[in-house]
């Protein structure tokens, strides 16, 4: 269950242009957060009234802190990233989480842009013998948290759209190559919808279970307002599920991608 918390910012650090890592002190979140969950954070003011959903990127249980990584998109995230000290009003941890199965020996995460962040804590929590992270960024300047991913996964491959770092490719191409050499037991993906749709199709073709973390604009963040709709299958029919409560994590086969 989520809680409404008023927590201390430990520090805010710029990772690259427009991307900031914020460390927040919270015993409740540190001891309750599961990978894939998010915080709904109040930015303040009447021009960014609604809370903004941001994934939990990392948890440090020994320090009772957790990290979020925020990309400045508009008014709300701009305000958030300018908060360097003081307290933040958060509702957390919210949403379901990635399924971690001890039977899985080879896991693979596929992340794009801001979608890479929640995958870090997932990698840390998984006990799998072989962990692969395939990460896609726009260019060299936007590659962040590489060292943390290298510490959390045995195998990290990076693709950039313009080839300025890692491989010049889409991250989905890295996935196709990876599957040829070693088929993962499960794939987890988060990033732009088009990328996740492609990852799901590759997973399905290769009969690999796949979990996707969906994104949608939110109102309440807890399942009451029904604005964060995501089209999912329901038998032979379909329905609108809700990203904040039924998700953000869904099985790729549940999602209607049309």
């Amino acid at each position: 269950m989520g809680n409404i918390l008023n927590e201390q910012i430990v520090n805010t650090k710029m990772l690259c242009k427009d991307v900031f890592k914020m460390t927040i002190s919270s015993e409740y979140v540190a001891s309750n957060a599961k990978p894939g969950q998010f915080v709904n954070i109040r930015c303040g003011g009447l021009d960014a009234m609604l809370r903004r959903p941001i994934s939990i990127c990392d948890v440090d249980k020994s320090q009772n802190t957790f990290d979020i990584v925020i990309q400045v998109k508009g008014r709300g995230t701009e305000k958030l990233c300018s908060m360097c000290q003081g307290k933040v009003d958060i509702m957390a941890p919210l949403g379901n989480s990635f399924m971690i199965d001890d039977k899985h020996e080879n896991i693979c995460v596929v992340g794009g842009g801001i979608g890479t962040f929640p995958l870090l804590y997932l990698l840390k929590c998984s006990q799998a013998a072989n962990k692969t992270a395939l990460l896609g960024f726009r260019n060299k300047e936007s590659v962040v948290l590489e060292d943390k991913f290298r510490a959390a996964a045995g195998n990290v491959e990076i693709a950039t759209d313009d080839g300025s770092y890692g491989k010049k490719a889409f991250v989905t191409e890295l996935l196709e190559e990876k599957i040829k050499s070693q088929k993962p037991d499960i794939i987890y993906t988060c990033g732009p919808a088009i990328m996740m749709q492609k990852v799901s199709a590759i997973a399905e073709k290769n009969k690999i279970p796949c979990q996707v973390s969906m994104e949608q604009r939110m109102g309440c963040g807890i399942g009451a307002c029904l604005v964060c709709a995501c089209k999912t299958k329901n038998g032979n029919n379909w329905e609108f599920s809700h990203v904040c409560k039924d998700g953000p994590v869904f099985w790729s086969t549940e999602v209607c991608w049309d």
Binding site: M49, C225, V227
Partner: protein, 307 residues
């Protein structure tokens, strides 16, 4: 706190412990928020708008944030009135908060049928939404003319065992005539305002942000309009008025009651601060105490206009 102060309010025979009611569509069926707020501390809950049959709702994005407000186009996603009574109402009845069933239909017959079905249920009142801007057929069409309101209110009233609250749209030029028509046709109470039709544009894509193009504006941005309309409606009718639109503090709530509201509803503010209803209840009590009042009747409608 002093127990001399009586926060209860009577709406058409239904006794609410306090005048703070959750606005339809912003509180689901109460369950989600019950993890954050003791629902016993809230006067009432108007549940998510119900239709006769299940509705899937509109395509996302269903929300856009605008200065001091939000536009929504949920499109009445709900499981249908019978499923609500079976699956959701029993949970709500564990609390003493009063339950208002908010209903919407495509035809007058649908509204009547829902009122009839709800008659055998444990809901305390029925709020007839004739003002939803987010569904194509029906609904809003009934709410924009005195004749439309009169026709639907008198028809539905015949099937109502519980008090009938008619929820008015602000998307009209003369709210007084609409309020008078509702009263004349047998409404036990009116509530207002529903959302104001609006548009938000993504200038990069050159497209509306909402998949449904237009949506309903709510939040602090609408408060002055809502207050004026509540004042006008409350002074045009004798039945009680429930006021809403942008209430996000106890001070806002007091303003609406001074303007003539016997109770108030809180919507969008819940998304920002889930414990706002309790803060508003406490704030109203403190205000009454500090002004030497003992009950709400001493402030309801007590606004004095300037000469």
């Amino acid at each position: 706190m002093s127990n001399k102060i009586d926060l209860s309010t009577n709406i058409a025979g239904v006794q609410f412990d306090n005048p703070v009611i959750m606005a339809s569509g912003t509180y689901g069926f109460g369950k989600e928020y019950s993890e954050y707020v003791d629902l016993n501390q809230i006067g009432g809950i108007s549940v998510k708008g119900l239709t006769l049959k299940e509705r899937k709702g509109n395509k996302p994005p269903r929300i856009a944030e605008t200065p001091a407000g939000i536009l929504n186009s949920v499109g009445l996603q709900n499981p249908g009135v019978e499923s609500f009574i079976r699956e959701d109402l029993p949970f709500l009845k564990n609390y003493k908060t009063k339950i208002i069933a908010n209903i919407a239909g495509n035809t007058i017959e649908e509204y009547c049928e829902m009122a009839e079905i709800l008659g055998d249920s444990q809901v305390d009142a029925i709020e007839m939404n004739v003002s939803c801007p987010n569904v194509k057929a029906g609904c809003l069409a009934f709410g924009t003319t005195p004749k439309g309101i009169e026709e639907i209110t008198s028809a539905v009233k015949k099937y109502c065992k519980q008090p009938l609250i008619v929820k008015l749209t602000p998307n009209v030029s003369d709210i007084r005539s609409i309020a008078i028509a509702a009263e004349g046709a047998g409404a036990d109470c009116i509530s207002l305002i529903n959302t104001i039709l609006g548009l938000a544009i993504d200038i990069n894509k050159k497209k509306p942000i909402l998949a449904n193009n237009f949506g309903g504006l709510s939040g602090p941005a609408v408060k002055p309009i809502a207050l004026r309309m509540v004042y006008e409606a409350a002074h045009a009718v004798k039945i009680p008025v429930i006021g809403m639109g942008g209430i996000s503090s106890w001070e806002d709530a007091i303003e609406f009651m001074l303007a003539g509201a016997s109770a108030i509803m809180v919507g969008t503010a819940n998304f920002v601060n889930p414990i706002i209803p309790v803060e508003i209840v406490n704030g109203i009590e403190k205000y009454l105490e500090s002004h030497g009042h003992t009950n709400l009747n001493e402030i309801i409608g007590k606004l004095e206009l300037n000469d």
